[in-house]
């Protein structure tokens, strides 16, 4: 992990992001999002790099990152499945879906499958209670889940990965 450095494209987006704010600090969380897209998760090295770039101490950067659950502080799978456990999703059967997902993936929450492809965790309300249960996978939602649909979703993600989509 010694090559922590934004690509040219990320550097361009870094500059564009900073321009949207009257003060540089306001961009910090957006830059951490960018960093996570680049490096996968917010390691100490990443916090160090972002801090160096923006002029904040790594501890300061990490204290912000650690407040926000979407900023991962350990590696996750290529596809990270966040399944909602809150009220309406729970009422309509989150847990049977989780059991099926665990059976298929063979890993517990916060673990990564051997091929590095999947990890999963519980998340709190995803604001999609009308299509409960809901699951977030990277930057999209899968809604109205059913235990028997979990296998199809995981297969779909596998084939997308095979086709080189992200």
């Amino acid at each position: 992990m010694s090559d922590i450095k934004f690509s040219d494209d990320a550097m361009k987006r870094y500059d564009q992001t900073l321009k949207r704010y009257p003060e540089k600090r306001a961009a910090l969380i957006q830059i951490l999002i960018l960093a996570q897209k680049e490096f996968g998760w917010i390691s100490e090295e990443v916090a160090d790099y972002v801090g160096g770039l923006m002029g904040y101490s790594p501890a300061d950067v990490m204290s912000v990152a650690s407040f926000y659950t979407m900023l991962h502080r350990k590696p996750v799978g290529k596809y990270h499945l966040d399944i909602c456990r809150t009220l309406s999703c729970w009422l309509l059967g989150t847990y049977p879906c989780v059991d099926e997902m665990k059976r298929i993936l063979g890993v517990d929450k916060e673990e990564i499958t051997g091929d590095g492809m999947f990890s999963w965790n519980f998340t709190e309300c995803l604001g999609s209670c009308g299509t409960a249960p809901t699951m977030q996978v990277n930057d999209r939602f899968f809604e109205s889940l059913k235990p028997e649909k979990m296998g199809d979703i995981i297969e779909q993600l596998r084939s997308e990965a095979a086709e080189g989509k992200k």
């Binding site: 966040d82 009220l87 009308g130």
Partner: protein, 414 residues
């Protein structure tokens, strides 16, 4: 029934600038730009519009707290951090009619003499944010945003800012801290954001639904809005209906609509023909209502308050008679324990202990004395913290325990 938010929501091409414009979009902004900013504020006051994020504070009054000529810039922040369990209306608005939000924000910005505004969208809604960003790009290209808004000598920049998974950031001072690039710790008020908010400048934070009501109000006039609804709850309200119902979804009804009609008509009745047991009418943080309490209650701020709950965000969760109330409360308590920011001791400790006791209870290891212990914890949390998150946990705890006490007792030994 009059609609102002969902008029074009079912038209797939509504997200494009061209179609939005063809259907009369941005005409309200044109009209507003020909008015004096303070005249718009007055129109909003007359409309009786109240903040739709949950608190129900009069929008025109909130705006009027902003000092004019403070020498500092004024900021408008759209609260699109929708995370109150049971609430999913703002997602619908942004995903299917993003220009309506842009138009509402442009009207509000002009009225507040604000030149830089942000939409704070929860990070989980990145796919929704992409739709909004596309609409923003179109609005810039069409001259609706930028150096000269619709040809007028008025500049406005509007950007998206993503949250990263923190319910607390829906609280407006926490949202501001987060926008400034810090942990989302709520601030002590006063000073209120209207005086000292984002970057210590005058700031207005309005919910998506509040802002998307503005084009209709400007088009039809504040008085027309005030003629809708009840004496104190004006206009329409979006309800996010979920849980044990046949037709979950987002519905717009005039304030004062009968709750049971809403359940039987819009929601399509209780799932599987089961009996109604309870309703959480305004997101998980409001007191639960028994089926009997729902009987003669209307959907407006005052009626729901009188019936012992709150309209809140309109996150309307229906529970049928198969529901275990202790399990439901435990699920809700886990949410608040997870989302407490940890800044205030009564909340950090109280939400945690309440969640632990309830977990123990549903595992069959509770004692009857735990019920009163939970109520004592609730007393120690309520009103003793910087922001209302602790109260948001207290309201379900107290209402579930008092209204369904026998179910909790049946689970406990001794």
């Amino acid at each position: 029934m009059t609609k102002m938010h969902l008029v074009n929501i079912d038209k797939p091409d509504q997200i494009t600038f061209t179609k939005y414009r063809e259907r009369g979009g941005y005409k309200a902004l044109e009209k507003a730009l020909a008015m004096q900013p303070l005249a718009i504020q007055e129109e909003v006051k007359v409309s009786g519009l109240r903040g739709r994020g949950g608190a129900g504070f009069p929008t025109g009054m909130k705006w009027s707290f902003v000092p004019r000529n403070s020498g500092k810039p004024t900021y408008l922040l759209c609260n699109a951090d929708e995370s109150e369990p049971g609430t999913f209306k703002d997602r619908k608005l942004m995903e299917y009619d993003p220009h309506l939000l842009i138009e509402g924000m442009a009207i509000a910005s002009y009225a507040l003499e604000c030149h830089l505004a942000y939409i704070y969208i929860r990070g989980e809604f990145e796919f929704v944010g992409k739709i909004v960003q596309k609409a923003l790009d179109e609005a810039y290209d069409a001259g609706v945003l930028g150096a000269s808004v619709m040809g007028k000598d008025y500049a406005l920049d509007l950007h998206i800012h993503y949250g990263q998974g923190a319910y607390i950031c829906g609280e407006e001072t926490s949202l501001i801290e987060s926008l400034e690039g810090y942990r989302g710790y709520p601030r002590i008020k006063p000073p209120f954001p209207a005086v000292s908010g984002f970057l210590a400048s005058p700031t207005v934070v309005n919910n998506v639904e509040t802002l998307t009501a503005l084009p209709w109000i400007i088009t039809h006039g504040g008085a027309a809005h005030a003629a809708l609804g009840t004496e104190k709850s004006k206009g329409t309200k979006l309800f996010s209906a979920s849980g044990h119902i046949n037709k979950p979804g987002v519905y717009e009804v005039e304030m004062g609509y009968a709750m049971m009609d809403f359940i039987n008509n819009e929601c399509g009745g209780v799932l599987n023909g089961n009996k109604l047991k309870a309703v959480i009418p305004g997101g998980s943080s409001v007191p639960v209502m028994t089926a009997e309490e729902c009987e003669n209650t209307l959907l407006d701020y005052e009626s729901i308050l009188k019936a012992g709950s709150m309209l809140g965000s309109g996150g309307f969760v229906v529970l049928d008679d198969t529901t275990s109330m202790p399990h439901t409360l435990s699920n809700i308590a886990d949410f608040y324990a997870h989302e407490s920011c940890g800044q205030c001791t009564p909340c950090r400790e109280g939400t945690g202990w309440a969640a632990k006791i309830l977990r123990k209870m549903i595992a069959g290891k509770g004692k009857k004395s735990d019920i009163d212990l939970l109520l004592r914890i609730a007393d120690m949390m309520e009103g003793k913290t910087i922001c209302p998150l602790a109260d948001a946990d207290v309201m379900p705890i107290r209402s579930f325990l008092t209204k369904f006490r026998s179910e909790f007792e049946a689970l406990c030994k001794e």
